[in-house]
């Protein structure tokens, strides 16, 4: 087990991000709203080709400006090379860094606020990837906050910008606004009735992309999906947000209708599935990650339709995050193989749910 500097991420074990509190609008279906802005510094090579010295210079410059000017309130700043592989995975599970950021070496860093709401990945594909993460459907509020963060940074750092192409990014798919909005949705009824394919096909036609839980290249687990804009150039940020706001309520309505239909149909055994999942979650002595994704998905439905009353979405969200492999290993303070993790997962659940 790598124990080097493992205290650096201890803070993440005693708290959960603000976005998990399920306080946002439409939180029965919309898990979170996220906006990401890609920004680069003028006069420096992009991360993929920059020499280690140049990238260290970029990282030092950004971290100095962040510290000096208190750009992020109550900031934690983590250099990834000071972290163990397990700690990096923990940050991926936390939705604070990408898999790519966790896996690659070099002068990479993460700056994050106390609420795990505002964060910046330093030297990912772009010099800075600003992120805001909020509970439920809160894109207008999210835009306001990330726009202000961007303004604070812009005063201190020379952004690479062209009047024609906008904010210049390493990949031409991000150029322009540098903005990627993603809304995480829980769509179990549309998934089981295979309606989800139809929804996605129509989304793709209007240039939106659908991804799994951890962004690009992942597949949907436990009926959770991320919907994101594909186009970043040619529209004002607010117009892209409006466009998403026009689509999401339609999907929410569709999901709610199908949930009611499923619950009303005794041949679908949805209520039985909910209680079975609930029982297993409370009393099993070993649970795989695949199982827990499925259980949490049906229990979430059980809570939102009012069947399960002694568990809330906040608890469910916390379980979702803390029952992931790196979180369990951090909790147990040792490396666990898959089978050992299944046991640790069940142990965590029994402890977490005993008070209910």
């Amino acid at each position: 087990m790598e124990n080097r500097n493992s205290v650096k991420t201890d803070v993440f074990m005693s708290q959960a991000g603000e976005w998990l509190k399920a306080a946002g609008p439409e939180n029965d279906i919309v898990i979170s709203s996220r906006i990401r802005l890609a920004r680069n510094l003028r006069g420096y090579p992009f991360t993929s080709i920059g020499s280690p010295e140049k990238l260290a210079e970029v990282e030092a410059l950004i971290s100095a400006k962040l510290e000096e000017n208190k750009i992020i309130p109550d900031m934690t700043y983590l250099k990834l090379k000071d972290l163990t592989q397990l700690e990096r995975t923990l940050l991926v599970e936390r939705h604070l860094i990408s898999k790519d950021h966790a896996e690659k070496n070099g002068s990479r860093a993460l700056a994050v606020d106390k609420n795990e709401s505002l964060s910046i990945m330093v030297n990912e594909e772009d010099h800075m990837r600003l992120q805001i993460l909020k509970s439920g459907l809160q894109l207008t509020e999210s835009w306001k906050e990330i726009d202000e963060l961007d303004n604070r940074l812009e005063k201190e750092l020379p952004y690479a910008f062209s009047p024609q192409f906008g904010y210049l990014t390493a990949c031409p798919t991000n150029v322009g606004t540098g903005m990627r909005i993603s809304v995480m949705l829980h769509l179990p009824a549309l998934t089981v009735t295979k309606q989800v394919e139809k929804v996605f096909q129509s989304l793709i036609r209007i240039k939106f992309i659908v991804r799994g839980l951890y962004g690009e290249g992942t597949y949907a687990t436990g009926d959770f999906y991320q919907i994101a804009n594909q186009i970043s150039l040619g529209y004002a940020e607010k117009d892209i947000i409006t466009e998403i706001y026009n689509i999401i309520p339609e999907i929410i309505k569709y999901e709610r209708t199908w949930r009611e239909k499923l619950l009303a149909d005794p041949t679908k055994h949805l209520e039985d599935r909910i209680w079975r999942a609930y029982g297993t979650l409370r009393y099993a002595s070993s649970i795989t990650s695949q199982e827990i994704a499925e259980f949490l998905s049906v229990i979430r439905v059980g809570i939102t339709v009012g069947l399960i009353k002694d568990m809330d979405i906040k608890t469910l969200n916390e379980i979702f995050i803390f029952s992931q492999p790196a979180h369990l290993q951090k909790m147990e303070k040792k490396t666990l193989n898959a089978g050992e993790r299944d046991i640790a997962r069940a142990k965590y659940l029994r402890k977490k749910l005993v008070s209910l």
């Binding site: 993929s48 966790a102 896996e103 192409f165 904010y167 990949c171 040619g234 940020e237 695949q290 492999p325």
Partner: protein, 170 residues
């Protein structure tokens, strides 16, 4: 443990989806069901870089003759390297490779003119020019749609803008 798919036969095949050698998802299947499974990675939707390569090939192929010898003086990246990687080496590349990327960017985004936020450090003239360009595009669109009344209003705004510019006031 029973097979997760058929729930009948015992699971003897155990598939893991790995991130940093940490299993993030495990699937337990019987021999029969496992044969029908495509690995998680092949089931994924197309990744952006792959999508990009598909878009770039026909466009950039044509440009290679014209642009092949061009190299960015700032980062040293050549147009051919950009074609291969699908990533720019530095912000200057956008300018250096401009003729070779406008079509590509238009293919990706449907346009190659930014209409979003502009940083305040960018000089005020750039602000103004961008605003002017936006208004002119609006005007063209309105004329096309025969919305002449709105078009007249935009035309007046453009006039106003140009007047201010010559006065040197914001």
């Amino acid at each position: 443990m029973l097979c997760e798919k058929c729930q009948k036969k015992p699971a003897s095949v155990h598939l893991s989806h790995l991130i940093n050698n940490n299993v993030v998802q495990e699937v337990h299947l019987c021999k029969d069901c496992a044969q029908h499974v495509t690995p998680a990675n092949t089931k994924q939707s197309l990744l952006l870089p792959e999508l990009l390569a598909g878009l770039m090939e026909p466009i950039i192929g044509k440009m290679v003759k014209e642009m092949g010898g061009i190299k960015c003086p700032a980062c040293g990246m050549t147009y051919l390297e950009f074609k291969k990687l699908g990533r720019f080496g530095c912000a200057e590349d956008y300018d250096v490779f401009k003729n070779g990327i406008e079509q590509l960017i238009e293919k990706i985004h449907g346009t190659n003119q930014h209409r979003g936020k502009i940083p305040t450090h960018v000089s005020k003239t750039v602000h103004k020019e961008a605003e002017l360009k936006k208004l002119q595009q609006e005007l063209e669109q309105m004329v096309k749609e025969e919305k002449f009344e709105e078009a007249a209003q935009v035309r007046d705004k453009i006039k106003e803008y140009k007047k201010k510019k010559t006065n040197g006031k914001p």
